[in-house]
Symmetry: C2
Subunit: 324 residues, 2 copies
Amino acid sequence: MAARSGEFDLIARHFAPIAQRDPAALSLKDDAAVFTPPTGCEVVVTTDALVSDVHFRNLDAPELIAKKVLRVNLSDLAAMGATPLGVVLTAGYGPDVSEDWIERFAKGFGEDCAAYSVALMGGDTVGTPGPTFFSLTAFGYIATGRALRRDQARPGDLLAVTGTLGDAAIGLSVLAGDCNDLDDAARDHLKDRYWLPRPRIDIAKSCISLGKRFAAMDISDGLAGDCRKICAASNVGMTIDRMKIPLSNAAAQAVEHDEHRWQNVLAGGDDYELLIAGAPDYVAALGDQVTVIGTVTDKVGQVELIGPDGKMAELAPGGFDHFR
Amino acid sequence: MAARSGEFDLIARHFAPIAQRDPAALSLKDDAAVFTPPTGCEVVVTTDALVSDVHFRNLDAPELIAKKVLRVNLSDLAAMGATPLGVVLTAGYGPDVSEDWIERFAKGFGEDCAAYSVALMGGDTVGTPGPTFFSLTAFGYIATGRALRRDQARPGDLLAVTGTLGDAAIGLSVLAGDCNDLDDAARDHLKDRYWLPRPRIDIAKSCISLGKRFAAMDISDGLAGDCRKICAASNVGMTIDRMKIPLSNAAAQAVEHDEHRWQNVLAGGDDYELLIAGAPDYVAALGDQVTVIGTVTDKVGQVELIGPDGKMAELAPGGFDHFR
C-alpha cells in the first residue's frame, strides 16, 4: 500500500476545495448534498463506472483520467440536451495508487468542473485490493418535457453526427503502439481524442432551442451498435453512406493506409459524438454543427451501409464485416 | 469467467423489470433518466461505494448484499430528513460472479426498491478483473431549507440515538466465527442487524415535522468517530453516558460476557442508527423513538464519556481506549 492519508483526510485535502465553490455540497461534510433545479425544469441524471485498464489506461496521466471520468457522463447529459449542474464521485483506489496520483487526479477533476461549470456535490472514497475504479453520477436540468430521447426517430428523417468518427478508437491503437505509419501530428491528434472527449453540450442545446422533434444519443460504444439503439427505441431502420461519414485528417490518413481501420470508424467506441435524427429541414437548420451520414427508414431494426462502390450491405452490430 | 450475458442483456433481463415501475427511467434504455422533485422541495443526493470483502462479505447472500447497498444510501437520505425518490446503480462484477448471483442480487434489490418506494432510474454494468463493487447514488426530496444538517448542534442540547448500538459490529464478529458464548437467538439477531440496516426515515421525518432545530447524522462509522463530525461541524463538544447507551438484549449479553465488546458499541460501524442533537423539549417530543445518551457542551471538539464508575474520560475517535 503506497503511503496515503485516510479517507476523510483525502477528501478534505484534495476534493473539498473543488466542492467549496457550491454551497449545495455543504463542503462535503454532511450526509448528503442539496440542490434545486431551476423552475420549470426537470432533473436529468446519468451514471457511468470506469475500471482501470478496462475503461481507461492505468498508465495515462491521472489528470486526463479524471477529465475522461467527468466528460463521459457530461456527454450523456448532452445527449439528452441537459445543462450540467453537479456530480457526485465515488472512487475506489487500488493498492498501487499514491497520494500524489490522487492529488493530480483531483487537480484535473477540479479544472474540468470549473471549465464545464459543474459542482462537485459529494462522493465517497474507499480502498480496494483490486484495480482502481471510479463511478460518477451527473445531474443536469432541462425544461420539462424537452429532453432529447432515443425513441423520436421517424422514417424519412435525416441521420447526422457531430464532429468526426473513429478518432478515439484509432487513438487507442496508437497508444497501444500500433499505427506507426501515421505522422506525429496525426498520432497526437488521435491520442488526444481518445483521452479527452468533448461533450457536445452546445450542439444538443441547438437542437433543444429549435423546439422540434429530434432523436439523439451519444456514440460511446461505436456507430454500428449505437445506431441500433435508436432503431430499437424508435422502431425504425437506418441507411448510412460510408462515404459521408466525417473523418479527421488523421483518421482519413489512417484508413487510407489500411482499409481495415474502417472497423474503428464504424464500430470503435469512445468518440462521444452525437448521433441525431430529425426531419430534413430541422437537421439542415443545425448547419455545419453536424454532418448528414444517412437516412431513417421504415425497415425496422435493419441498419444498412452503402459502401464506397455504391453497393448496399448490412452493417453488423460489431462493424462492417460484410465489406471485408 | 462464469457464463454470463453481455451488459445490455443483463440490464434488460434483471434490472429493467425493476425500473419499469417508474417512467423516469425511460426503461433504462436512454442516455439518462429524468425526474422532477415536488414543488417547493429541494433534491437531496448522496452516494456510497461498496467493495466485496471490504464493505460486504462476498460469502453473504446476494439478496442481502443488494439490500445493504440500497439501505446504506437510504440511511444517508434519512439523516437529512429526505424522502427517497430514486437511485442509480453502477455495478462492477468480478470474474467469479455468475448470472445466477446477479439474478439473486437484482431480486433483492427489486424487493427493497418496492419496500422503500424507490425508483431504479438508471445505472451502468461493467466487468472488473478485481473484486465486485457497487456504487449507488440515491435521490430524495425535502421541503426547501428543512434538511437536517450536522452543523445545528448547540451547547445545552440533548444528544439522542435511535434503536440500539453495537449490534452490527458484534454481528460481524459472529459471522467471523467469534462470539460462540452467545445463544442462537442472540447470534441470529446480531447477524441480521449487520446484514440489514433499517434506514430511520420515519424518525427523521418526525424531527422535520416538529419544525424545530435539530442536528442529525447516521452512525455508519461508529459512535466515537461520528459524534466528532457533529462536534466539528457545529463547533461544540459532547458528553456521553455509557450507561445510557441503548443495547439490544443480544448486545447486552455480549458485553456482559466480555467487557472488551464495548469497543464494538462505541466504535463499531454499520448500525445506521441516527445521532440527533436538539433542545431538550424537542428531543423529548420525539418520545420513545429515541434514547438520550448525553449532552452537547461548549468544550469544542472534546468528546467525553462517563464510565460505569461515574468517572469521566475522553472518548477517543477509535473507541474507549481510556477505559481498558
